[in-house]
């Protein structure tokens, strides 16, 4: 595989699932006609069938290893090879219980494969690039030219600058136009948080603390951590502002715009409480909005305050996507922000009212276009960095978001899926995440270690980067920066007929 210019710290290594079984897409049924001859075990190269040494019987098929219907054209296919025709193949009903229209089972499976191998799946039976939501990114396709200029992958850069103001502050460049979203300590486990930061360092990009304070264990990654200042100001101190290169003001979160954050008392363990300087077991609210900000002028005061405290850091402003998001973005630019981060309504969360996730504020696809055009009309587009989040699920979503006008994206759910999140949605209740990703329960938070998680994340970032480079190559581009705002390279499956 041709490689592009990625950081030398990125090392790809197979990192298999923590679990014995994967969620199978197919189901192999063995009928009573089977004579246990073992032909299937000999012929299947994927290990679906096993007959252990000295056993008379063939084991029940291991469904998840099966590559499905495309196998039927191969000479080693168990179904055609079985002398008794005792085997049959169907879709596994279990697969319907995984995923949803936004994150389909194929997309989750595809992301797992990326996290395991570091590359997009070789299987051709998974539609892992687009979801089934019937709108937004899922209706957009790339229009690749027939004869693009020849570009070698080694010439393609996916790096972007985050400081475009030329104001003497840190010239921060990230190597891939993706960074990790804020997930507070308390909402995710420590291994999750540390592996996100470690991966950010490996990929020369960033991760964000979220609003739960800055655990000391993140200190080695200071240059790749964004300190979030949110409305509850939990764990925000002078030293956590001073040690980083980017400080993010979180005004709102796409999943629950206008509602503020809420850490349930059950998840506020002794550790979490200490970090947040709060009392263990109490519910912690981050109110909405900043009670000291009722205008852009107030907002500017906040930004100035941060800039005073840390003379080199960049300031990012994270807002959600109301009708007037374009005005807010321009206001933030005039207030001095380097990065405008817009978080769409379908974005992720550790806990939010269902009614808010579905209904409040617009999906990110519209907001990117709106903000990009408004900043352009204002003559400010070239001096701010526009980052989109909230519903960026795949490398294709990433490239589409950039075509619509973003410089880069922030992801959250995709990172968690790499750590084998199944999106069951129970992050918030009781002991929290049964898969140990979003839990501070001592037993559950121990289900994987940081090394495993870091490699999975590094692999997934690599697969995305690999796909992005491929897309750029097909467009004949040498830099991802050429892709920004190129809506002419997209088509819409309803409108573009």
């Amino acid at each position: 595989m041709g490689e592009n210019m990625k950081p030398s710290t990125v090392k790809i290594k197979q990192m298999p699932s923590r679990f014995k079984h994967q969620v199978p897409k197919y189901k192999i049924t063995r009928s009573n006609d089977c004579i246990n001859c073992g032909t299937c075990a000999k012929t299947c190269p994927y290990g679906v069938h096993e007959r252990p040494e000295g056993h008379n019987k063939v084991n029940p098929p291991i469904d998840y290893k099966c590559i499905g219907f495309e196998c039927q054209s191969k000479e080693f296919c168990c179904i055609t090879q079985c002398p008794r025709k005792a085997l049959s193949l169907s879709l596994n009903p279990m697969y319907e219980t995984l995923g949803d229209p936004r994150w389909t089972a194929d997309m989750i499976t595809g992301t797992w494969i990326m996290a395991e191998t570091g590359y997009p799946p070789e299987r051709t039976d998974l539609e892992y690039n687009v979801g089934n939501s019937g709108g937004g990114f899922d209706k957009l396709r790339f229009k690749f030219p027939a004869n693009p200029p020849k570009v070698d992958k080694s010439e393609i850069s996916t790096a972007i600058e985050l400081n475009r103001r030329n104001d003497g502050r840190a010239p921060v460049v990230i190597s891939t136009p993706v960074y990790g979203g804020g997930m507070s300590f308390g909402s995710v486990s420590l291994p999750t948080m540390v592996s996100k930061a470690h991966n950010a360092a490996i990929w020369n990009t960033f991760t964000c603390t979220g609003e739960g304070g800055y655990p000391d264990i993140l200190k080695p990654y200071d240059d790749h951590v964004i300190t979030q200042v949110a409305t509850g100001l939990f764990g925000v101190r002078e030293e956590t502002i001073q040690r980083v290169k980017i400080i993010e003001f979180k005004y709102a979160q796409g999943a629950k715009p206008g509602l503020g954050g809420h850490l349930l008392g059950e998840k506020n363990t002794e550790h979490v409480a200490k970090m947040r300087e709060a009392v263990k077991g109490t519910s912690l609210f981050s109110p909405f909005p900043f009670h000291s900000v009722y205008s852009i002028e107030d907002h500017k005061k906040h930004i100035d305050w941060i800039k005073q405290m840390n003379p080199i850091a960049l300031v990012s402003v994270k807002v959600s996507t109301p009708n007037d998001v374009d005005m807010v973005a321009v206001g933030s630019y005039y207030a001095g922000a380097h990065i405008i981060h817009i978080d769409g309504g379908y974005g992720g969360t550790g806990a939010a009212p269902d009614i808010a996730k579905k209904n409040i504020a617009m999906p990110i696809e519209y907001a990117i276009t709106k903000v990009h055009n408004f900043l352009k009309a204002e003559g400010a587009r070239d001096v701010v960095t526009l980052i989109a989040s909230g519903g960026i699920r795949t490398a294709h979503d990433l490239a589409k978001a950039i075509c619509l006008g973003a410089d880069g994206v922030v992801i959250g759910t995709a990172e968690l899926v790499s750590l084998e999140c199944v999106r069951c949605g129970n992050c918030e209740s009781g002991r929290g995440c049964s898969r140990g990703i979003a839990s501070t329960d001592s037993e559950l938070a121990d289900l994987f270690n940081e090394k495993w998680a870091t490699q999975r994340l590094t692999n997934m970032y690599n697969a995305w980067n690999y796909q992005l480079v491929e897309i750029l190559q097909k467009f004949g581009m040498k830099s991802v920066k050429e892709l920004v705002g190129r809506t002419d390279l997209l088509e819409h499956i309803d409108y573009s007929k």
């Binding site: 029940p60 709108g135 206008g258 205008s295 939010a352």
Partner: protein, 465 residues
């Protein structure tokens, strides 16, 4: 500051099996190792009570779809699928997930909260094709969840003056019309099925508890309901006015069935009711084609409140049984009726109630943004009690067996819980919008984002050839 409005929830489980989403089956190759009992944090897997050597059947009710048991079973002996019952109940409007969430809200009265982002389709039909706005930084009216105490969901039913009139000396000539205030923009509509006496009483008590009203056919109003007369809206035809004088005497609101000649006789009808009581009159009109004209005629004839009723899926009613009838959806009917009255400059004079297909809390503020003053609901109150609704092959609403034996208090509390959860959800949406008065939601499309408009504005402009 008006008195704060609270609905008091109380956890009230029902001793019955309702729908569940998942089914887990244990294959014959299970070796009873017990790994599943260790990995499941929801206790779906346990050993058999009598024989500890064997595993019990999985308890799927508690399954939260985490896949731990599936993935960790050393033999791959566990299989999971969607429960057939769950798949079967899903209709085009009443989706399977709605039954589960309404049932749960009736149990605890809480706002449904989950982790991870939204999982549904990008957009959908009717109310699913709109989002509500929020306000980001400015607008000092807003205070998020901490300001919710000061958000009023109250609405007023009755006729309003278009303007005030004064005499030559500047004295006010205009007399205000009588109105009825309710603290939540939801009425309980006529029950869609025959109810046993305990359920009927609970429905009325629940309406009373949350200070709203229930619309009941006058024939169903019994003397023992007298205590709750302020919360009952008798529904009659014009011809029945004299027959139900006793009931009308004590009513705050009365609902009258619409027929074609009614607008011309409205003044006389109102007069006859005025002679009996001070009740404000609601005209109940089916949502049929041409509803816009019917409504404006009613407004011009002096109607006070008009209740427009779509079918149970929120669709326009096919009055003339047209063969290729393409029903409009309630969202579009509301917008059209509202805008028509705005054009005619008479919108402010009338109160509009809309009902039919109101299935979730979000439908209430959304129908108000489209132009309604308030809504009326029916089916969700019975889903709260474990009712099932099938749309195909034809509408079938089934109340659970044994409901007639359930205590009035339990049934009442479940309906109250559901309304408590809805009220809190309405507050969430209003809080995000920065709107403190439900009355100001009406027709406030500036705080709504309509799919067809924004999609056209962005993608249509970019990609249409």
């Amino acid at each position: 500051m008006p008195k704060k409005y609270h609905i008091h929830p109380k956890v009230t489980p029902l001793e019955m099996e309702y729908l569940y989403k998942f089914k887990i089956t244990r294959g014959e190759n299970c070796i009873n190792c017990g790994r599943c009992t260790k990995v499941c944090i929801y206790e779906a897997h346990k050993r058999r009570k009598g024989d500890r050597r064997k595993m019990a059947d999985p308890n799927t009710v508690v399954c939260r779809n985490c896949f731990r048991c599936i993935q960790e079973c050393p033999r791959g002996a566990l299989e999971k699928s969607l429960h057939q019952d769950f798949v079967n109940i899903s209709g085009s409007h009443w989706k399977a997930d709605m039954f589960l969430t309404l049932f749960k809200q009736a149990e605890d009265g809480k706002v449904p909260v989950t982790g991870a982002g939204y999982r549904g389709p990008f957009t959908g039909e009717g109310f699913d094709s709109m989002w509500t706005d929020m306000s980001e930084i400015v607008r000092p009216t807003r205070d998020g969840i901490h300001g919710r105490e000061y958000i009023s969901t109250g609405v007023e039913l009755g006729r309003k003056h278009n303007h005030l009139a004064f005499d030559a000396e500047g004295r006010l000539l205009t007399q205000p019309h009588p109105t009825v205030d309710i603290p939540i923009p939801i009425l309980f509509d006529i029950p869609p099925v025959q109810l046993s006496p305990n359920v009927m009483l609970a429905l009325i008590k629940a309406a009373s508890e949350i200070s709203t009203c229930v619309i009941l056919p006058a024939a169903d109003i019994k003397p023992e309901m007298e205590t709750y007369r302020a919360n009952i809206i008798p529904f009659i035809t014009e011809g029945e006015i004299d027959k139900y004088v006793d009931i009308l005497k004590n009513a705050r609101l009365v609902a009258i069935d619409y027929y074609d000649a009614l607008p011309d006789k409205l003044a006389a009808i109102k007069e006859r009711i005025k002679n009996i009581s001070n009740a404000v009159t609601i005209i109940r009109v089916p949502a049929i084609s041409g509803i816009e004209g019917m409504v404006s005629k009613l407004v011009n004839s002096g109607a006070e409140v008009i209740h427009i009723v779509a079918d149970y899926r929120g669709q326009e009613i096919n009055k003339d049984k047209e063969a290729n009838f393409k029903p409009r959806l309630i969202k579009d009917i509301i917008r059209s009726v509202h805008l028509n009255l705005v054009e005619e400059r008479i919108r402010d004079e009338i109160t509009l109630i809309f009902s039919g297909g109101i299935a979730m809390a979000e439908h209430v503020p959304k129908s108000m943004l489209c132009g309604g003053d308030l809504t009326a609901i029916d089916i969700p109150l019975f889903i709260a009690l474990g009712a099932r609704l099938y749309e195909e092959p034809e509408k079938l609403l089934l109340l659970p067996d044994g409901l007639e034996k359930l205590s009035v208090d339990i049934i009442t509390q479940r309906m109250v819980n559901l309304m408590c959860a809805w009220h809190s959800q309405i507050l969430e949406m209003m809080g995000a919008m920065g709107i403190r008065e439900a009355r100001r939601l009406r027709g406030e499309t500036g705080r709504a984002i309509f799919f067809e408009e924004i999609d056209q504005e962005t993608f249509g402009k970019l990609f249409k050839q």
